[in-house]
Subunit: 200 residues, 2 copies
């Protein structure tokens, strides 16, 4: 090797993640990223196919990190309920610790920058495992989706400050989760009250 290389894919993704958190997705420009790495923009294209591909890498890495945090949180709790509370907390911690990355992962994704399926699976697995400890196998998928929805919705809305009316949403999520867990343990109400209508 002639030159010792000045940059590398890990260095690029690290710097990109930092820049993402500081400036948001739209502020993550190839030129600014290159500037921070002491290099010119076109040089990045020797290590990364395109900007969308770079975002896809961040997306996948973020999902794997989220999965690892969920797994770690789950491993420290005894009961299924405590496990889910710990995971909800980890979920919110990830979102509030890396808000822009969280938004990148779950925001509008032009298909070019969507994470690999394996990364998404890595994030979903610990949740499915926890749900499996809670209900029978045939209900796992529905229950996991309900739990994920509640936690994800809460986190997303809190992150985008849609909960405008005061309070401490970061803690109240545990109350909401308790309600849902209570409903799950009681078996719900049976069939839906209204027939869902599908609208185009």
């Amino acid at each position: 090797m002639p030159h010792p290389a000045r940059i590398s894919e890990p260095a690029i993704t690290d710097a990109a993640r930092a820049l993402l958190e500081q400036e948001g997705v739209e502020g993550l420009s190839m030129r600014e990223l290159a500037r921070r790495l002491g290099v010119r923009a076109p040089s990045l294209y020797f290590y990364v196919k395109s900007r969308d591909d770079l975002l896809r890498l961040l997306n996948s890495a973020g999902l794997r990190e989220l999965g690892a945090m969920l797994t770690a949180a789950a491993s420290g709790a005894a009961t299924p309920g405590a496990r889910l509370h710990a995971m909800a907390d980890a979920y919110a911690s990830f979102a509030f610790g890396s808000p822009q990355l969280f938004r990148l992962i779950f925001g509008p994704c032009p298909e070019e920058r969507r994470a690999e399926a394996s990364a998404a699976e890595a994030a979903a697995r610990p949740l499915l495992a926890a749900a499996g400890d809670l209900v029978s196998a045939e209900d796992v998928l529905d229950i996991a989706r309900a739990l994920w929805s509640l936690v994800h919705g809460y986190t997303t809305l809190a992150l985008s400050e849609q909960f405008q009316m005061g309070g401490e949403p970061r803690q109240a999520i545990h109350r909401a989760l308790d309600y849902l867990l209570a409903g799950i343990e009681s078996g719900g109400r049976g069939a839906s009250i209204v027939q869902p209508r599908v609208v185009g």
Copy 2:
């Protein structure tokens, strides 16, 4: 009036919304929008302060429309439970009917393009009213947030196709809502099991 004006703010926002749904946020460019209106890009700036301002207008209009849909859905249901199911359905209908607008509203918003507070309030009001029929006044805020979180999370995840493993999430949302409603009616489990820890 010298010319009869060829464009107007409503014409711009209408075309912008159509373009948004067709091409996504990043595809909504001022030049393409102008081209569709038979005009050049700089002319748009007589009616709209900036692209971000245009997105803010779409955002506000979308929130008001969502609020109207929720109100309409609620008005057709007798019991509080049926009302919430109908609203959940309306929420999903809005999201699946105008996915890009939904993502614009609840996605990452650079503060410049965030909707006016009154629009957000218009969307939240029907939910707060329905929650008020379900629980006592002191719990309304928490319960409304939990309900909104569940429905929003479910809709968001289904919309971004994070629910990869088959099934019909559009209908399963009613099951999840039933679980949460059952838990709310039973009063939950009391205090949280784990103490929430706040992480930077």
